[in-house]
Every structure is written in C-alpha cells, then in structure tokens.
C-alpha cells in the first residue's frame, strides 16, 4: 500500500501540451529532423522466402550519378553482436524471409536511392520454404516461455473430470488474423556519425531501450550514442523494439561519416520489416453447470514465429485469471516459419487472447439460457485463480453493470436473428476486457529548479498518447505546485533512463520515478529551493506490491447491423466502461480508450494481412488494400470509466490505459453480429462472405 498523492493537477482535463505544434506542423518527427545536406537510403529486399544469395550485382546502381554507397552482405561492416537475428542486418548471404534486407543504396535524394535499389540485381539459390500456419503443423513446439516470461503451459485441477461432470460443454476453434500495426508515421530515422559518436533521431517508443540495442549491435558505449525522439506518429508496439531499419540507417551513416543519412520505410516495406501480430488459432472448451458456474476451461493456442527469432505471443495468459473454473488448461504451441519476425502489437496476448474466450462465453450463455452479463458475474473470481492472490482492485462486474445501464441492455431479447429494421438485421453484444498493470524495473527522473520553475527530465516517450501532458500533472502533484510551474522534458537519451512506452506501463513507471524524485527534491531543498537545486529519483522497487494481482478491467458493448442482402456489417454504437484506477487526464485518457476500441473494431471487421504462402508474403501490403477502419465505419464511440482508487499500484493510484480498449472489442462485435444474424463467426475478421450464405 502506498500513500497516494493528493490529486490537484491529476485528473484535470488539460489540453495537450504538444497539441499546437502538432496542429501547426512544427513538431518535428525523426525523418524531418533539420540537418545539413542529408543523404537518403532505400533498402534492397529479398525476393525469395528462403535461400542463399549467390551473387549481387551493384554495378548499375553504383554507376548512377548521385549514388553515394551501396551496402550488401559482401561489403557491410561486421556487427559486434548478431545475437538478435532480426538485427543482424547484412551479415550473411542467407535469406530467412521474403522482404528481408539484402542491401541498401544511399544517394543524394530519396528518388535516386530508390532507383539505385531497383538496379541492384541479386541472384539466389532458392530453397523450399514453409510459411503457412496450420493447426496441425508438423513443426509445432512448446516455447520455453511465452512473452515476456509467462509459463508456456499451465494446468490446474482435473480438466477431463470437470469436463465430464459439466452439464454443458462449449467446444470450438477460434482464430484471429495476422495483423500489422500500421502507425501513420512509418519507421523512420535520421542518423549522423561524428567521429566515434552517433546521433540517432529515431521514431521509437523508447530512446533508452533503442540506444541500448544499437550499442549492443554495434559494440558501442552508451556515451557514444545519443537517441532523440520528441514525437512519434504512433507505434502500437511496432516501435517498442528497434527493427532492421534502425541498424541499416546506422550502418549507412557510418559509411558516410559526417553526413546525416535518412531512412523511412515505405508502407510496403513495413509489412515485412516492422513486426506484426501472429495469426492465432485458439481451441477452446468451456464446461459449466446448468447455473453457469464454469467447471473446466481449456485454451490451446497455436501461433507462429519466425525461424530466425522467437516471439511467443502470450495469447493464453488472460484466460488464466479472468474467470473462476474448477480446472483449467492453457497451452501455447508455435510453428517457426520462413516469415518476417512477429513482434509487439497493442495488447500483445490479451488482445487476441480475449477473442476466443469471450466469444465462447457468449456461446455458453446462449446454451445455458443465461444473460451473457450474468454469466460473467457468476464467474467473477474473488482472488486471482492462477496465483490465489487478492486483487488490488477488480471492478469488472461494476463495468458490466454500468455499461449495461448506459447502453440500454436491460430487456434485451436473447434470441439471435430476429430483429429487423428496414434492410438491417440488428443485434447487440458484450465482452469483457482486462489488461495487467505493470511497472518496469528501471526509470529515473531528475527534478531541477530553474528560473522559478520546476524542470523534470526523463527519457520517456510520447507516442501521441499524452505523456507530454500527463507527466507534468503528476510532477505538479508530487511537488505540490501548480502544473503551469512544471516543465517536463522527454524523448532524449540526454535525460535520465526511462523504460519503454509499452505494456501500458509508461505513465505508471515514469510517474513513479517522478514522484520519488520530487520527494527527494523536497527532502533536500524544502519548499523554497534555489536556482539550480536538483534531485534525482528512481522507480522505487521497495514500493512495488507483489502481494496483489494488479489488473485493469473493462467491458465493451456493441450494436451491430448487418445488411440482409449483402452481409455488410455496420457498428453504429460502441460503448466501453473501464476500471483503470485514477484517470490522470480525461481528455488524453478518452482518446486512448476510444482509439483502442476503434482499433478493436478494425480488428473485428477489417484488418487482415492476407498471407500468400506460395511466395511467403503479405499480399495486400499497402493501406489501399489492407483495410483499417475509417471514419465512416465508426458511429457513436463512447468511453466511460469508474472512479477507482487503487492504493496498491502506485502513488498516482493509476493503472495503464493504452491497451485495454482494444481488448475484448472484437469479441463484442462478433457476439453482436451473431445476435443480429444467428451466424457465429469464430474467425476474424468478420467479413460479409462469412455471413452471406446463412442470411435469409
């Protein structure tokens, strides 16, 4: 238990501090960094899914007027570490997936670089590749751990006996699609070597982790490298760890010492080089008594990773703690394929992992004739079923109840496919959401008194989420001053170390460090400091609560309409209620919630990286053909939250909110579509062809 800060600035609806710069276009992003006479890169990519390079002809590219350098595995510098195979760029002639970087052309203009890249001729000894995920792939294996360090398999109780004793068993296979993060700002950087020091302006979710990775790969000391990133045009996890492009631009710049070099991936390149969410196949069983009490829950997940680097999405993890069950089994199996390297995607684990279970709950509710909300209420566990720990706070039931009230759930006719308004079949659905409240191990903040104001420095990141705005609110309350008297500086490794903006842990971790620094500062200098007084604070590990299970919860409600002639799905209403501890700024919080829910809607109806296993590539690899929900798809989206104070999580009483909005939404959409049509779509996305044949 911690002493909560008294909220004065926290909780206020303050406008974004960086809003004006962004609207006016004066906020500079990595690629726009104003530098003297930059050179530009364009990667050369493998056109086979597996093989070995037998020859690279760079002559035509090098002969182009304005081409400054062509790097390939034949002439690129040897990296200090190739432990991370994704980052071992241009180190060997082996090709592990189509689209892998096999060269880079550096030129006076981006057009010339692209032309040069087109002129590089690479020949391959092609090998047979295997890139199709199937539920019975012969190579399925159990990873040692799933991300970041969860048990691969967890079995509790006697599953078979409980299933046998169940009055009703729901048993189905669910699937989520391969999806790409697709932030608006591509993966982009500007790199400049000056002697032995490197400055890297990089679009990243964390300047410090980014620097650490670059130092490891290039064998540099941290003092040699500065990473700068004040603004990010979205990351959604895909900028949570650096990808090959960062190594490539750094190499290219080293080949042109003293000259800044820029690299922005094209949208098409992002589909093979910037991470993605694995498709998941979820075999699910729910056994219950007539009254809805769950006896057995099993979830066996099959997903993919790349042959060269393991990434094990923790899809089965939320099912371990969400509901009561007498017995439970959750497992993960991976197929290591000749595919690009999967990576973090908003709410890794929870987002795909709440699709199957939350649709299965809806199916169970129908089988039992119990309202889907009531079924969830009956299975709300008093303690974390996996660890037996008490919850730091769990208000799922309250979210469901308040959501039902706001949405107008009462009196809902549970029968599917019976409501018709004009050409529309109408239905409603609900699903629960969860996201763990995490704090990273390391972050430091400095507080300095400067010209009558308090300056806080921390190498944190704002992905458009609101850190520029919210951290000053925390600092103000921690220092007991007006928020206008606080300036927070982030996005530069010149500021103290800060953890990645990921796992909805940023505000939690950095805010905790700021609170410690403020306490230190006041302890040292009192309330009347002198100019230049400075104190530093680190996240207080002593303060971490490991006796409670700490999670945020929520519930999403959806109204779906399905065109009776064509099967087209529209979602006029999407409403979420969340219990996420103290909401530090309702404005930035709301945009996280509705952004997350909209992304969940997008996952439900549209997003689908269509894999072409013949060539080993995403076929629809641009934003015209890979559909992300657009404005016309989004009707009334509402986010509400409960006043929840959680004294166990941190001194702000705040839980992370960046990811929970996406969790659960897709299940709620699928459930609503079923209620509208009677068609159960267990495989995402819910496209019209999956409904058509069953329509009247």
């Amino acid at each position: 238990m911690t002493d909560l800060l008294e909220p004065r600035a926290m909780g206020r609806d303050l406008v974004r501090r960086d809003g004006v710069q962004k609207v006016r276009g004066t906020a500079t992003y990595a690629y726009e960094t104003p530098v003297e006479s930059p050179a530009f890169c364009h990667p050369v990519q493998a056109t086979v899914a597996r093989g070995r390079i037998t020859g690279i002809d760079t002559e035509a590219a090098e002969a182009l007027d304005g081409v400054l350098a062509v790097l390939t595995s034949e002439n690129a510098e040897r990296l200090a570490s190739t432990d991370d195979a994704e980052l071992a760029v241009l180190q060997s002639p082996d090709v592990a997936f189509r689209g892998q970087v096999v060269g880079v052309v550096v030129a006076e203009t981006s057009e010339l670089a692209r032309q040069g890249a087109d002129l590089v001729v690479v020949t391959y000894a092609e090998q047979e590749h295997d890139s199709a995920l199937t539920v019975d792939h012969p190579g399925l294996y159990a990873p040692e751990k799933v991300n970041p360090s969860y048990d691969t398999d967890v079995v509790q109780g006697d599953v078979d006996a409980e299933l046998a004793a169940s009055a009703v068993v729901v048993s189905h296979t669910y699937a989520t699609a391969m999806v790409h993060n697709n932030p608006l700002e591509p993966h982009a950087s500007t790199a400049l070597w000056d002697g032995s020091s490197l400055t890297l302006w990089d679009s990243t979710q964390g300047v410090h982790p980014d620097r650490k990775a670059v130092c490891t790969v290039f064998g540099l000391e941290e003092e040699q490298v500065r990473v700068v990133c004040p603004y990010v045009g979205g990351g959604f996890g895909s900028k949570g760890t650096p990808h090959a492009n960062v190594v490539l631009v750094t190499m290219a710049a080293r080949a042109l010492p003293g000259r800044p070099v820029k690299l922005a991936l094209t949208r098409q390149q992002m589909f093979s080089l910037a991470g993605y969410r694995t498709p998941t196949i979820q075999r699910m069983q729910l056994g219950a008594d007539r009254d809805g009490r769950i006896r057995a829950l099993t979830l066996d997940v099959v997903e993919q990773t790349s042959r060269i680097k393991e990434f094990a999405e923790q899809t089965g993890v939320p099912a371990r703690m969400m509901y009561t069950a007498n017995a439970r089994r959750t497992t993960h199996r991976l197929a290591a394929l000749d595919v690009p390297v999967p990576s973090w995607f908003r709410a890794p684990g929870e987002c795909p992992g709440m699709f199957g279970p939350e649709v299965a709950m809806d199916e169970l509710a129908h089988e039992l004739g119990i309202d889907p909300i009531e079924l969830r209420v009956r299975n709300d566990p008093e303690r974390d079923p996996e660890t037996g720990q008490p919850w730091s706070s769990r208000h799922l039931v309250e979210c469901l109840r308040e959501g039902a009230e706001r949405f107008g759930w009462a009196g809902r006719d549970p029968r599917p496919g019976v409501r018709r308004e004009g050409r529309w079949l109408v239905g409603t659905g609900v699903a629960s959401s969860v996201y763990p409240t995490m704090r990273q191990a390391q972050s430091t903040a400095d507080v300095r008194f400067e010209d009558g104001r308090y300056v806080v420095e921390i190498g944190a990141a704002d992905l458009g989420t609101g850190a520029w705005t919210v951290l000053p609110q925390i600092a103000a309350d921690a220092l007991g001053v007006d928020v206008d008297d606080v300036e927070v500086r982030i996005g530069d490794t010149r500021y103290p170390i800060a953890s990645v903006a990921g796992g909805s842990s940023g505000t939690n971790t950095w805010g905790s460090a700021i609170a410690v620094a403020a306490r230190e500062f006041r302890g040292k200098f009192g309330t009347d400091p002198r100019d230049g007084d400075e104190a530093s604070g680190q996240v207080d590990q002593a303060d971490t609560d490991d006796e409670h299970a700490t999670y945020a919860f929520g519930a999403q409600f959806v109204e779906a309409r399905v065109d009776v002639d064509t099967g087209e799905v529209r979602v006029p209403r999407l409403l979420g209620v969340f219990a996420c501890g103290r909401i530090l700024n309702p404005r930035t919080a709301r945009s996280q919630f509705i952004g997350g829910m909209t992304m969940g809607l997008s996952m439900a109806l549209h997003e689908n990286s269509v894999w072409d296993p013949r060539i080993g590539q995403v076929a629809n690899h641009d934003l015209a053909e890979y559909h992300v929900t657009v404005n016309a798809d989004v009707g009334d989206v509402q986010a509400h939250w409960l006043d929840e104070e959680d004294p166990y999580v941190n001194v702000m009483g705040a839980k992370g909110i960046g990811e929970i909005g996406i969790v659960g939404t897709a299940a709620a959409v699928s459930n609503a579509v079923w209620h509208a049509t009677g068609v159960r779509v267990r495989e995402l996305p819910v496209t019209l062809d999956r409904l058509l044949t069953a329509l009247p």
């Binding site: 269509v610 013949r614 044949t693």
Partner: protein
Amino acid sequence: MKPFAFARPGSVAEAVREVSAEPNAVFLGGGTNLVDHLKLGVARPDLVVDVRTLTSRETTDTADGGLLVGAAVSNSELAADRRVREHYPVLAQALLAGANGQLRNLATVGGNPLQRTRCVYFQDVTTACNKREPGSGCAAVGGYTRYHAVLGVPAALPDATAADTCIATHPSDMAVALAALDAVVHVLGPQGARTLPFRELHRLPGDDPSRDTVLGHGDLVTAIELPPLPMAARSTYRKVRDRASYAFALVSVAAALDVDGDTVRDVRLALGGVAHVPWRATRAEEVLRGGPATEHAFRAAAEAELAAAQPQPGVDGGNGFKIPLLTRTITATLRDLTEGATS
C-alpha cells in the same frame, strides 16, 4: 522509380504529338493512379505529358439533351453537378462511392476509366504478372483473388504460367455507371478525332492482358459524352465493399429501371468488381425487358447473367462468394428501384 522527362505542352494536339512521337510516353491526368505506379516501378515511362490543364474542365449541354464532360473535370465536380445528380444519379453515386474526398478532387474524368487494376500482384514488381510484364505469367491464379474476376474468365481454372492469363478486374466505379448509361468516349489520336461507345473502350484480356482498353498509343481521351436517357432519372449505384468507405468494390451494380405497372419496360444494368471490363449485363437485361417487375424475376435475370460465372479459388477463401453476393445485390438493387417507382 526511374527518372523520366516531364512535359506540359500548350495544347491537346501538341500533347498527342509528343506522346505519339515517343514510344514510351504516357499522359498524366490527376496522377492519383499513375504517380503511385511510377513510385512502385509498375509504370516506367521515359516521358510524362501532363494534360490536366489542356483538356476541357467544363461540362456542357449537348444539342440532343445530353452532357459533354471534359476530360479534366474532376471526379468531385462531376459528382456535384446538378444536371448529373438529377438526370444521371447512378453516375453521381458511383463517383461518390469511389476513393475519398482528396482523391476525387484530383482524379479526372479522363483518368478515372483508365485507372489500372488493383490486382496486388500487378502492383508488386517482384511477382509474375502478364499485364505488367507480358509473358511472365499470372501470380493471381491461386493467390489472393478476393478482388478478382468471376465473369469473362475461362470456364476452367486458368493456367498461371500461360502468357494470356489474367483474372484481374477493372476497379473504377464511375466506369460501371458509364457502361450502364451508354456513354460515348471522345478521343483525339495521332490520326485525328473520333468517338467510340464507352462499352467498347475496355477489353477482355484476350491474348494480350497488358492492354486494358482499345486505345492506341497517343490516343487522348478529351471528353465523355452522356447521351440523353430519361429513364436514368431513376437509377442507382450500389457498391458492396469490405469497409464503409474508401475501399474498392467487391461487387457493384449500376442500374436504371423503367417500370410500367408491373412490367419492366426498359432496364440498364452494369456490374463492377467482377470482370476485366465494366460488365454490361446484357443477358440479364434481355431476360428482364418486357417481363414482370418482381423480386423473383430479378433473381432469375441475375442468375441468367451469372450462369457462366467462374469462381477463382485462392488464399483467404478465394472469391466464390461473389456469385451469390452478386445475385443478391442485383436483386436488391432492382427491388429497391421498383419500390422507389411505386412510392
């Protein structure tokens, strides 16, 4: 991306001369399709001749009561034209169903029907494509065929390695409406000016999938003429797509219907998203004309049109769903038009 020369001559005649003189030259309209292809390496011209400011940007009344639309009129302007909205609502709706506001502001009436297929393999120079690289084969066969053809394709599964295989669709919405309206294309070519029926502009792949249209090198579209068609006042465009806006058609239906009591006096029906050309559904029209205006008859006509439809299997389920989807969409569109007629 390959460097090219850029020219903006003083007149259409000069533009035609310049393009005719250079075998690897192209016209540039709004550039919303061509510029993407320049970047992707799909188009590799030596000379780009900008005609955006040369062709007419006017829509004028013709003597017989139709409209003559200059090739430089933007998609947005044409959609907003009061005469189009009143007399040819199917065209205004088709335009507004295409792309998004920014693109429609740039896209021209000349360029729109000449936009190229969205086949993902056509747009990716690392894959085989007879349309882009004649003789290289067709990567779409057995691949991602959701947006591919079911009409005008061979009855058996095509041969992916054959030089004449192409199962692409024409992506334009506007063109589907123009096909239904019996529009006329005004062309200025190296041999002078001529007109041709819009329905003859696009061609099936035949033995040369690289050619989308019958236009020859140096043929400039100067205008599109809409003949008078009183029945088009009751016309509509129904586009079915994977998201509510800013997506190409899975299938679309352009229809005009003239109903006398319970009988179909006349009908115009064209389909989009289903063939290498905007598909005029003449078979269905024949079945409908003079017959009853009932849902049953509409469905029968749709089925007659689709009798030869050929699903294309592929990853992600193929495109067989388009056949029932089309039947349902044609039926619903005609039904809605009839209901409009009686109300």
